[in-house]
Symmetry: D3
Subunit: 224 residues, 6 copies
């Protein structure tokens, strides 16, 4: 099953991806019907980054980072590497040397359901990573995995070419075929939120804006 590299994966267009990056994880997650969110243990190694890009997926054995080298050759400008180990592992698959190589091939960042190291260097390089752990533990290069096959990463199914959006709120996956539709929904949502924000800031209550009082009373809410 492993030992396969799928080349020439189709990507979404740049404008759609840029739009999703601007919307951010929480909005995109809502806009696509609350699916595609990775587990909450996927945290950024430093705050403030917000990226979106096409997924180059990696299925890697525990403690073996060989396939990262293989995957880097498959990168195109703006892509994001997404690695899931074949069994739970928090070894440090990735550090500043691999980041240097990945960036030279257009990579924007890494999503890894395992560990990462050289955190200080990665922050200085401004190379963002969302990971399950920070761990210096070294890995080997002894066993094949696969590149651009479907994976499950931190509870989310990811296909190569899907769009990844990642920011301080976590990581969300959008199917390539649904990207435009999700972007449109996200933008509608943002427009709608802007007006709500103003009314809420002015002191109007959600109870009134969203007309909740009658329904709450009907359900039996009692004020004492």
């Amino acid at each position: 099953m492993s030992g396969v590299v799928i080349q020439n994966v189709q990507r979404a267009d740049e404008a759609t991806i840029a739009g999703l990056a601007a919307a951010g994880v929480a909005t995109v997650h809502e806009a696509q019907g609350r699916k595609g969110l990775m587990a909450s243990y996927m945290r950024p190694i430093y705050p403030g980054a917000r990226i979106a890009g096409s997924a180059v997926t990696i299925s890697a054995p525990p403690g073996d980072n060989w396939m990262l080298h293989v995957a880097i050759e498959q990168l195109r400008k703006g892509d994001i590497l997404v690695l899931a180990p074949t069994s739970p592992c928090e070894d440090g698959y990735f550090g500043d040397l691999l980041a240097t190589s990945a960036r030279a091939h257009g990579c924007q960042g890494l999503i890894i359901e395992a560990g990462v190291r050289d955190i200080r260097d990665l922050k200085e390089m401004d190379f963002p990573v969302w990971s399950k752990a920070v761990f210096a533990q070294g890995t080997i290069k002894a066993t094949l995995g696969s590149v651009n096959v479907p994976i499950v990463c931190a509870g989310a199914a990811v296909n190569a070419g899907d769009i990844i959006v990642a920011d301080d709120d976590g990581v969300c996956v959008i199917a390539r075929e649904e990207a435009e539709e999700v972007l449109a929904a996200a933008q509608r949502r943002e427009a709608n939120e802007e007006e709500k924000r103003k009314r809420l800031a002015a002191g109007e209550l959600g109870l009134d804006i969203y007309d909740m009082r009658v329904r709450l009373k009907d359900m039996g809410l009692k004020y004492v």
Copy 2:
């Protein structure tokens, strides 16, 4: 049992609350006999905030943030929202829209034994949150909970109107009736520490300052 909103909860006076904020979590926790501390997984979404205020409590179903809207109407200036789900949940009950609304009604911050989202916006707004998780997962508005009933949040019993102190060390609850007494004890403790700090900084040993050597020897401590 749920479906109740208790109004007109009594609060401690402002000066007492301000004094507890100045003392901070570690000191207040010690001053009240080492009780009231929430679990260590309650972490601030950004470092540096230190707040104290009266608790407006929320008991909410898992994945349902409806009661936050109800609770916001009950806020008074300086209050802190404290939410405990009725079963373990890390969904993102709260984001920048609710923070905008809560702040408009005087809220200083949120303590939530669940998830929070829109982290970057909350940080820009300087709206502090202590939570169990950062998670973008959306919630619904379908089931009643209660507001200002007694809750257990992250292992600590909280009554509406109790004082919450929160800083980088975590979150501590002080019973309203004990607030003045705890503040007095905290201030005594701080005065006492100041002198100790100077002596320790000058190189005096705790072994000598606290007269520990004899007792250690009596208990059998051996130097080899």
Copy 3:
């Protein structure tokens, strides 16, 4: 078994320790054959610190920080305190007063498989700590432990006088007898990496630099 303080522990020489600090955790861990790394839950209380020093070890009962006072007397300039509880505990054994005292006796920082508190003060003092938890819970002074005995801290065996290296990647232990050899290996590794970094930054692939293509093909990697 407990109740022992071993004095006059041998330390590695300063230059070796300084060299290991400069190399950092990930490099040192690799250079010594991928051993000695503490568990990934040992995290710095603030980012950016990188220290190395000789370990003064502490075996302490759960919830009892008495031995910290005893250990501080055993410190020499540049040492690092390393505390392991005798059973799992996340109480706040250490805060700003003990940090003040430890620093006055030459201590560079603390490694603790338990909790720490007064985080904001420690950061202002620039006193780095790597801990399992941040927790304000107070401790007592009732039971003996030991100082400078062999301990297991966060999965790593530590002897007094071993060298601790700690940075944003975590904490690594180097046996005193092996320190010079490890430093030499670390420096060779760094020199080697520098050249690799340049070639990778220029776009050369690891697949080519490390001559991996033939071996991958032999193992059956298929491009489709």
Copy 4:
């Protein structure tokens, strides 16, 4: 705050307690409005036991089981010991000697948000325990705690004299004042379930028994 033993706690009557034991945790939890359940990590040390009794509460320091001896003197026939440490701890506070003593004073079992040991002996004695951990780690007798004060155990608030129901599904607390009402509700629930069970066993669908089809359709459920 600690160092208090409250004597002569009021208990619920025996018949009510026996009725709650017969109903079991899941039914009682539902009958009292889905509150009072301890966290799911509270597991029985062997399957099959189902008990109910009045709580004798213990607030104990981490790693210190002294108060168990004090609490045993406060036991009456049919009581259940409920211990919460003042900070997270999994030490083995309780083993076969204490079980022998507790049973001699009428104790039916132990609920402990910490560790327990001598599992094989306890099983042979048929002395049931629900605990957070099985751990042989020894404890000391050096610091005071309290007996029969209000505690929070595994997320549930417990007052002395409250009724504890425990079985293979976990542990539930019922306030003494509500015990009769909860028992009545539990018995109504059981009667109601019996008829449902027969219809379901005969192949009738919940969709029909509970008249769900129209509401599901109204909410938009689509069959494809």
Copy 5:
């Protein structure tokens, strides 16, 4: 996205499913190239059961078990229910009433990345469940989910009609299209193991049976 029930899902043939049940999880997992295994936290509520069947999948909101009623109508003889919540939840979605209903419609067992209750009754009924938790916490019926859509359950992607194999070792998913091939591989593996078992029982070493000595020596293994 939710609110869909897919009917008339294709199943694998009975003989193939029976063969996979006989092989068991560990063998099937190996035979299909070490994929499809659910996370190790999925544990049986009692030991000894070994089942295989076609998956009827359920995507359910946290704390809402409504879709179980919908799914039961979709069951055919021998099927297995597989439920994944849309965000982490350990509530008790399933108990003896639902088990009674599911069994009446041919269900062999339940796989649930959440909680289950009425453990003692389920064991008496001999209705096996593999779950993330045992928890009596009740659920509601307020929000739609979906039935027979693709889900990710405990880290494994599951499509309706895939074969589930579950025993004391955990839970494994086999794609329907690959079931026959996997069964053939599993049976070859078992035949091969039988001979190995005899030789190993007679004292022959794996080092010799698998011809490992030369390769170990070549890689540098040293006997001292």
Copy 6:
């Protein structure tokens, strides 16, 4: 560092080992001054076994069980295999084939800070295992580890030839040099406990047997 097999390790004598097995984990742990206990997550795969034997230690890469074959050749009658991965891993390193081989070479059981599989077979064979996880995930044979080197397993330092005692309470390590002394202390402890058990069973209180009342009063315990 890895790639070493140490042969001809010294063992403790059989009578001492048998004595320690009879005493059990809790007693032995107390008798040797409360050290050597492995973490509470090390659980038996089935209840009821109690064994003691000399440790044959294995340091293995994550997901690689090759060294188990090497270690089996080093076994002598009554030995216990003790495996620690070099980084956290819960893969199933061990199943019924390896158990068959290990038993043929005298092995009594396995202690593994990782996963195990073929649970049902192991139970039928009555081959006890204490592990961190039950997980069917397969391992490879690609990288060297070491046999009979010092390891840290589940927080306890283990040297080859140390005595392992394991039962339903967990796993404890006794240094070979201290084994006789520990056994003597354990037997004294058991003799002492026997008399206590009788008095406690007769209703005498620990408060009186251990003369605690005065000390409790002196420390300030108040009865109200």
